[in-house]
Symmetry: C2
């Protein structure tokens, strides 16, 4: 077991009030809450994420499943095939919280779960409670849906996080044993299974494990799973046929959609974002990671094509991805319906990590732009401000009546439920948000990038000597960023500071003197030569009315408001019912507001108008067109992430703009 | 067997070129074509009506099913539980064609099918091939889905049509025998099944049989099925539980949605249109019919509430109904998405018959307005101009890319397929269109209504003496209608002529003298006193830009064009791709066009503009809003029913209107 760190993830201490509030929510609310859920002790109603009677919603049963697998209890498996991953994500979340602030009680809980995992794990390293309990004859034999390697991936990520937080190798040993089992069973040698999991995840986890340990076999195994994917489009179907031939009982024949699995052609030939959105971005992150470490330009190029396709043609303005609930999937270029979309929280997290991975390879602020857009909008919208309610689907337009009465929108919730039958998103948030510092900086061999404007401190190392970079920010009418670089080495340190698209007229002052901006790839560079360098960046904060590409039908004639990284929305609570009858006509002003529920937020107030519904409409559905009557109306926008916390009502991101029509 | 007619359906001879073309299509193309399909001899690909692997699409097998049931062949049942109704509708269609023009060969074919039905029918009258062949132990025991009474209803309607066309009682005898079987099994007496079919149809068929025969037992049985519906909301579930208790094998437990079946509460308490659209309108037609004949004001009132709810809040501008594919159902008031809707052809036909039924009870031109809107738009759009291709779903906005790549729209076809796995719609069109004359006039005890402007002749009877009413029309820039009433009786005849909403400034001339319009309930009345009365009605034909109620989100800022009863649409063929970038800005003119494919049609040409897509959009999805650039563009509209006949492309009914935004 290698414990020496091969490649550091940035060690960042976050001091930003906005994010520290999330850390506290996750520590105080979410982790204990999810622990209770995993143990079936939470007094909650588990809600189905959409109108589908086959979704298991009775209980979580995760700990019970492991106990049954360990032989500590009798019983059957309950829940999804990937139910185990809920626990692994919980461990990763808890470990990331421990990394922020040591917590012996939480470490104790994690240790208990590791005891259980050790007991449940089989001699050969296999660990997947469903197959252990209910279908041992089908281990690794139904990879299109089994999620065995997907769960292994989350186990690996949990083990990395626990090691990074505590230095303990216990969970890494469990993961290593499972990896040995996987290596013994998978590969292109005769007698081995030559294929990959239907849900990508182990690939990216193996890249991360390689980064931690430097052990090439992990990178090679991750690379293998990428390479084998889509080489034999019939692989999953063949597995099922082979099971039938061998007389292995496996239930009715399923319909396998290999595009959904991104398994219809080799990954390097996949140049658009297709199929299940979470799977796609997990796969693409692994492509970028393997490509980076193996210096495989083809793989990096393929990953970039996918990224470009997403952000240039298939991403909502909140960073959300996935245009349809059917297959939780991408559809086609510019198809971004606001009221039907999926925008799964997990997919947004996946796109964050994918973007971050590409940034390691290529210095370009566009990756950080998207990371920021995701973190402040489409990701945190997934969690309520109480830390106890969650969105799986993050809509851009909601009408509670439609969610209740039009089954095409049964997946579009108007309130965050407390838990889901498929509980992938809440623990994904819990593991990601405490690690937000990871995205604030990127350390490269020849430069450090400051990506996100988060009050924080990076502790790095240069030529064997330590350095720190501190950043702090003010975003009132005017923006001001202070950065201090302190270093022990006498060598120069090149710091790239991202100039975000919302910062206008930036002025850079280094050690008290205005500096000529040296902007490359969206970053302005400062070379720190002295022991201590003080950098000040000031800029005007624009309030943007964003418009979408003309081929996005759903947004025609509409704009979305944005200030600093926040996308805004209208809510019924502030603007009344029938938000679609409102239009933006005039000036927009920020208003700082301390809201009982929403906390300290910056609202946007705008001049607008409302379509007046005349009396004649009572019993009439269609009539000869008359010029519409309008009345002036003040519009109030709140940050998108904070919607859905007050009374049940309509919400809308895109709003009609008076002059935006042809 | 009563063969004396109790209440005449109007005997109308249609001479209208527009409709006679459809009669010919149905006679020459559709009836032989469907006959081949029913016999599995048509060389066609049967298309699934939506993306659902469980839909049977291999073949029709209808005749084979009857042969197996009759013991003439060995084999299993294939197809839907309601597959038998395909044959019954075919017979009704063929009979309606025979009624127009005697055709011995066709009569011969019908007689052959009656031979087969007689052989397949069991001793006690039971006739439902699926249950006879594959599940005799479940006869009448799974009414939520069995369609046994639904098929009986179509058998009755076929028998009526065949009797009316030929005077033959052969099929009526088969129907009567089945009814006797149903009467023996259903009712509120002990030991009988006290419930109704999951799919309404027999109710309306029994009303029609009562009208033909005057036999009260048919009206009472129809009335019973309406009354029992929804009295015991658990009825369908109880049936399945009882089967389990009795050890009757019946497969996995289904999810039963009693709102889908309109069985959650008594029908007279159902005041909105909910659930499966076809079922709802079939039920409501029966409510209006039973209410009319039993003079049950409550039942009529309930039917009217449903009708009002549909046409005032839940109907597309084409007359189409059903806002979602999931459950082929209504959703909620003003929820009318143009690209997701269902608008099943059968539902449009059902609404036509429901409206016609209410018109018998209440003289009000609104019913005829809707009948006309349906016939000229949402019904005939279901059949291609070649008579060989059909829409199940009649969308108001189509993008072939969306249909292919967004699974939420897999049911929205951009081309009419030749047949469907569920073949309810094509034969429904085939039986309805030849009977279009039935809707042109309504005969009441004290008046005759001229509802539809179709060149035709009504042969009626007054005080035991014959009369005829002939109507003929010209719709060029100016509209002109000539009506001649000739009667043998010396009594006065009161004729109400509907003034349609598209006829402006009507001028009425009776026997050469301008008459003062006596308009009541949307009809202008002429009292024919002499043996012969000549009536001339002239009017201006308006081209209307219709707008939808402001709460119809999907139509905000848009208009739909209408001339005479036709609703118009834009097609890519005439206007290029990206129809959503077009807007109407100026005058609209009719243009008479003889099109190779579309035939003689009146197009509408309008001044419009197109949103110009600047170069900057290449790799950008969102940008800061700029005032849109436009370029003038001539827009060409064709009648909605004729869309989808040329190259595969986009179609759009609702188009942006320059001044229609707030």
């Amino acid at each position: 077991m290698a414990t020496q760190m091969h490649q550091h993830e940035p060690e960042v201490t976050v001091r930003d009030a906005f994010w520290m509030n999330y850390f506290q929510l996750i520590k105080k609310e979410m982790i204990p809450f999810q622990w209770a859920v995993l143990n079936d002790k939470a007094a909650i109603t588990i809600e189905s994420e959409r109108d589908d009677a086959t979704i298991p919603t009775e209980k979580s049963h995760v700990i019970e499943n492991f106990k049954v697998a360990a032989g500590l209890k009798a019983g059957n498996h309950y829940g999804w095939l990937f139910q185990d991953s809920d626990l692994y994500k919980w461990i990763e979340a808890a470990a990331n919280i421990v990394a922020i602030e040591k917590d012996e009680e939480l470490i104790g809980l994690i240790e208990t779960t590791i005891d259980l995992l050790e007991q449940a794990q089989e001699e050969d390293g296999y660990l997947s409670t469903f197959y252990q309990i209910d279908a041992p004859h089908l281990k690794f034999r139904r990879l299109f849906e089994s999620h065995e390697l997907y769960c292994a991936g989350h186990l690996i990520e949990a083990a990395i996080a626990y090691f990074q937080a505590t230095g303990s190798e216990r969970l890494l040993l469990v993961a290593d044993k499972f990896i040995a089992c996987i290596e013994a069973n998978f590969g292109d040698e005769d007698g081995k299974i030559n294929g990959a999991d239907g849900h990508q995840e182990i690939e990216l986890a193996l890249v991360r494990l390689y980064e931690l340990t430097g052990d090439e076999k992990h990178l090679d195994l991750g690379s293998y799973f990428l390479e084998v994917r889509g080489q034999q489009p019939d692989f999953y179907a063949h597995q099922l046929e082979e099971n039938d031939r061998k007389g292995l009982k496996q239930g009715p024949k399923p319909v396998i959609n290999i595009v959904y699995h991104q398994a219809d052609k080799p990954v390097i030939e996949q140049d658009t974002a297709r199929g299940h959105a979470v799977r796609l971005v997990y796969m693409a992150q692994a492509m970028a990671g393997v490509g980076h470490h193996k210096q495989d330009e083809k793989l990096i190029g393929a990953a970039k094509k996918i990224w470009d396709n997403i952000v240039q043609k298939r991403m909502y303005v909140t960073g959300g991805i996935g245009s349809t609930v059917r297959g939780e999937a991408f559809t086609y270029d510019y198809d971004l319906p606001n009221d039907l979309m999926y925008c799964e929280t997990c997919a947004a997290i996946g796109l964050l990590n994918f973007s971050n991975e590409l940034l390691k390879t290529e210095t370009d602020s566009q990756y950080a732009d998207i990371m920021e857009r995701l973190l402040y909008n489409g990701i945190i919208s997934g969690m309520a401000l109480d830390g106890k309610h969650f969105f799986y689907v993050n809509p851009l337009e909601v009408d509670p009546q439609a969610s209740a009465l039009n089954p095409d929108k049964s997946h579009v919730k108007a309130k965050r439920p407390s838990w889901f039958g498929c509980a992938c998103c809440p623990p994904n948030l819990a593991r990601t948000l405490p690690a937000v510092g990871r995205y604030a900086f990127t350390q490269k061999s020849d430069e450090v990038l400051l990506n996100l404007f988060i009050d924080s401190e990076l502790a790095g190392e240069q030529a064997g000597k330590p350095y720190t970079i501190r950043q702090s920010h003010t975003f009132s009418e005017q923006g001001r960023t202070l950065i201090t670089v302190e270093k022990a080495s006498s060598e120069q340190l090149s710091l790239g500071i991202r100039i975000p698209y919302w910062a206008e007229n930036p002025v850079l002052v280094v050690d008290g003197e205005e500096a000529i901006a040296d902007i490359r790839n969206g970053y302005t560079y400062v070379t720190a030569k002295a022991e201590s360098t003080a950098i000040e960046l000031t800029y005007t904060i624009a309030i943007n009315e964003l418009e979408a590409h003309p081929l996005v039908k759903a947004d025609k004639g509409k704009v979305a408001l944005q200030r600093v990284p926040f996308i805004y929305c209208l809510e019924e609570q502030d603007n009344g019912k029938q938000l679609h009858l409102l239009a933006l006509t005039g000036a927009i002003r920020p208003r700082f507001r301390s809201d009982m529920i929403l906390g300290d937020i910056v609202c946007l107030e705008a001049e607008g108008e409302m379509h007046v519904m005349e009396d004649g409409w009572q019993d009439t559905l269609y009539r000869v067109h008359q010029k519409p009557q309008t009345t002036p109306k003040k519009l109030t926008f709140i940050p998108y992430y904070s919607w859905g916390h007050r009374s049940l009502g309509e919400m809308q991101v895109w709003v009609d703009k008076e002059d935006a029509h042809v």
